[in-house]
């Protein structure tokens, strides 16, 4: 052991009143080498009384040694604690400054202790530090999608616990009621386990509660919304919290509030009912028409859960379904509207007439399901055709069935669209005619389209509609379609002819068509007419490529010839193509 270490050993262990004086002397005026050694030894000791000397003389150590002390603040707990117990404002301020400079939140309990100091300056600095930490933690939590206690990582949770401990100490001091920052910091981090906080808040006459509520009535920061949302669920506080939430907030606050509600989905029914008259939860709230879809979902769930009158809820849903720019948000609003009971009818009609793509189409579907679209307007029909391809095939079929009688009664609703210039709208109109099975009502328009080879996609669609409808006098048009270069046109023409009295040789011509779909239609027609060429074509297709085998399976499903089941089994188990195996298995299930 070196000579100076021996001196330090004696001084560190001695109870003599001159020992601290000597240590202080070396820390302030000592030779730099001895000073460094003294600092090292004091940092290593567990004697808080001696270590507190480093706090006392921190400003005199010089930059390097001060940095070293701050760097090793993890070993300074005993000294910092002792320094706090000395009740010397200068020492307490130094402790708070050290903790602030190092941002070591594990020492938050010391800051909490300082927040109870008799010295106003010490209290001010300590409260300021606790406030800053609380706001930072709260903002981190506000960026999460769920409750902080579930989603925060372990390190953040630990920091949160430390800061909460400091706040608990500050909150229980006699100065807490005079410090809105202490109260706000405690409120923003108080979770459901913070009984020390909620216990005080439940007492109506508690000065801290009164001070906090008075402060929040003047200034309500977004960080405080967590407290208010939790308070809604506490009987003693719910009234005051609801009172604070019943005000017109700016957009940023509304979004923060909705996020807070989204993070705490398990609010009780009485808590939700208190939001019934909240001004930010009504139609015309611009923020709801601009918020992200998940927030819209939350807002509508809150509105529905609040027991808001159905007409008011329907108007809110409609305003979002019409005015929101995100299709997903409009979809959510529309679903909510569709479940708003009788009040939904008029609002759904407004959506059907005014909403952007694809919401209007979905609204029309809902109206049809409710049986409230007996007489669609021209505007509704226009929107339906615009949104037609956004509907699923099943929904399109449902719309077609639902509009059949309306189209028979008011064919003029669709006639203009069948002759319109927009190709997409015409195709949608033809598809609607086919699914509504009203081809006979629009036979003139369909015949013209089926004969027009300039747009083979439209021609094919028209032929398909004709094929399924009872349109007469089509022979010339269908035979013209058989000569088309587009396989879809030929296939649909064959299908239409198959449903009518056509001669067998018409189909025999197509058993060698390059398109599997055309050959499949020909084979099906021939099998239906008991011609052996049909089975021969089908067998040939079953040994062809994947597309041919799939088309052959389609013929199988429609005609069910002899030997269907063993062939389908063979394909389901041994075909090299997964799609063919799947299709064959589907057929077997329905066999």
């Amino acid at each position: 052991m070196s000579g100076f270490d021996t001196t330090l050993d004696v001084l560190l262990d001695s109870a003599n009143r001159d020992a601290p004086r000597l240590l202080g002397h070396v820390l302030i005026r000592g030779d730099m080498r001895l000073r460094e050694r003294a600092v090292e030894r004091l940092m290593a000791t567990t004697d808080g009384r001696r270590q507190a000397l480093l706090v006392h003389y921190l400003d005199c150590l010089g930059h390097n040694l001060e940095t070293r002390v701050l760097g090793g603040i993890g070993h300074m707990g005993a000294g910092l604690r002792h320094a706090m117990t000395l009740r010397d404002p200068r020492m307490q301020v130094t402790v708070v400054r050290m903790v602030r400079d190092t941002q070591d939140q594990s020492l938050a309990y010391l800051v909490g202790e300082a927040a109870c100091s008799a010295d106003q300056s010490v209290r001010g600095q300590a409260v300021d530090l606790l406030w800053r930490w609380s706001v930072a933690l709260r903002r981190q939590e506000m960026a999460l999608d769920g409750p902080a206690e579930m989603l925060l990582d372990e390190a953040s949770l630990r920091r949160r616990t430390f800061v909460t401990e400091g706040l608990q100490r500050a909150f229980t001091s006699r100065f807490a009621a005079e410090s809105p920052r202490t109260l706000c910091a405690a409120a923003m981090l108080a979770d459901r386990y913070a009984s020390w906080f909620w216990g005080a808040m439940n007492v109506r006459r508690d000065t801290r509660r009164r001070a906090l509520m008075a402060h929040l009535a003047e200034t309500l920061e977004p960080e405080m919304l967590s407290f208010l949302v939790q308070a809604l669920d506490r009987e003693g506080l719910a009234g005051d919290a609801a009172g604070l939430l019943h005000q017109a907030f700016d957009g940023r606050t509304v979004e923060a509030l909705l996020r807070e509600f989204a993070r705490r989905p398990a609010l009780s029914a009485p808590a939700l009912r208190r939001l019934r008259e909240a001004p930010w939860l009504g139609a015309g709230e611009v923020t709801l028409e601009q918020a992200a879809p998940p927030l819209v979902t939350t807002a509508l769930a809150l509105a529905a859960g609040s027991g808001m009158p159905r007409p008011r809820l329907a108007i809110l849903c409609r305003s979002v379904a019409v005015n929101h720019r995100e299709p997903e948000a409009r979809r959510v609003a529309l679903e909510a509207l569709a479940h708003s009971g009788e009040a939904a009818g008029p609002e759904l009609r407004i959506v059907a007439e005014t909403a952007p793509q694809p919401s209007a189409g979905a609204a029309i579907l809902h109206l049809l399901r409710r049986g409230e679209l007996a007489e669609p307007s021209g505007r509704v029909m226009m929107n339906l055709l615009r949104d037609w391809w956004d509907l699923s095939p099943v929904d399109r079929r449902e719309v077609g069935r639902g509009l059949a009688s309306a189209l028979r009664g008011q064919p003029e609703l669709l006639r203009d669209h069948l002759a319109a210039r927009g190709e997409a709208r015409r195709r949608a109109a033809v598809a609607l005619v086919r699914l509504a099975q009203v081809a006979d009502v629009f036979d003139g328009e369909l015949k013209a389209m089926a004969a027009d080879a300039r747009d083979t996609q439209l021609q094919s669609a028209a032929l398909s509609a004709i094929a399924e409808g009872a349109v007469e006098g089509l022979a010339a048009v269908l035979h013209q379609g058989l000569g088309s270069w587009d396989a879809r046109v030929r296939a649909n023409a064959l299908e239409a002819l198959d449903r009518r009295e056509a001669r067998d040789d018409v189909f025999l011509r197509f058993t060698d068509d390059p398109s599997p779909r055309v050959r499949a239609n020909a084979a099906r027609a021939l099998i239906d007419r008991n011609r052996p060429e049909g089975s021969v074509t089908l067998r040939r297709m079953l040994t062809g490529g994947e597309a041919e085998r799939l088309s052959a399976l389609w013929v199988f499903s429609r005609t069910r010839p002899d030997g269907f089941v063993p062939t389908a089994r063979l394909l389901a188990s041994r075909d090299p193509s997964g799609r063919v195996r799947g299709k064959a298995a589907e057929l077997l299930k329905s066999a």
């Binding site: 070196s2 000579g3 004696v10 003599n16 001159d18 020992a19 002397h25 030779d31 001895l34």
Partner: protein, 113 residues
């Protein structure tokens, strides 16, 4: 065989004597502790106590102790133990020709190495 005292000394007297003896011993013990504490307190309050502790810990000889004391007095150090923190004060002993260079070096090595 019966005890020699059982019938000579009354039991009441025996109990009183024992009690006095115990009280006396306890008073002595308390006095010893108080005296020891007072002595320790005096020692903790006096600069000489720390001086002796340091001297003993470093194993200083009488001459070395004398030289150190002289150096502290020349530098007007109060308490004198501050000399254990001030190497340059010891170095001045050579300047004042109170000690040889080798003596001072040995002292420096003992105290500040």
């Amino acid at each position: 065989m019966p005890s020699l005292f059982t019938h000579d000394v009354p039991p009441l007297f025996t109990n009183a004597a024992t009690a006095v003896m115990f009280i006396g011993l306890a008073a002595l013990a308390v006095a010893a502790v108080v005296a020891s504490r007072r002595q320790q307190g005096q020692r903790d309050r006096s600069s000489d106590g720390l001086w002796h502790d340091l001297r003993r810990a470093h194993g200083l000889s009488r001459r070395e102790t004398r030289l150190l004391r002289e150096a502290a007095e020349r530098a007007s150090l109060n308490p004198a133990s501050l000399v254990f923190m001030e190497p340059h004060v010891v170095m001045r002993l050579v300047d004042h020709e109170r000690a040889t260079r080798s003596e001072v070096q040995e002292l420096m090595s003992k105290l500040y190495s």
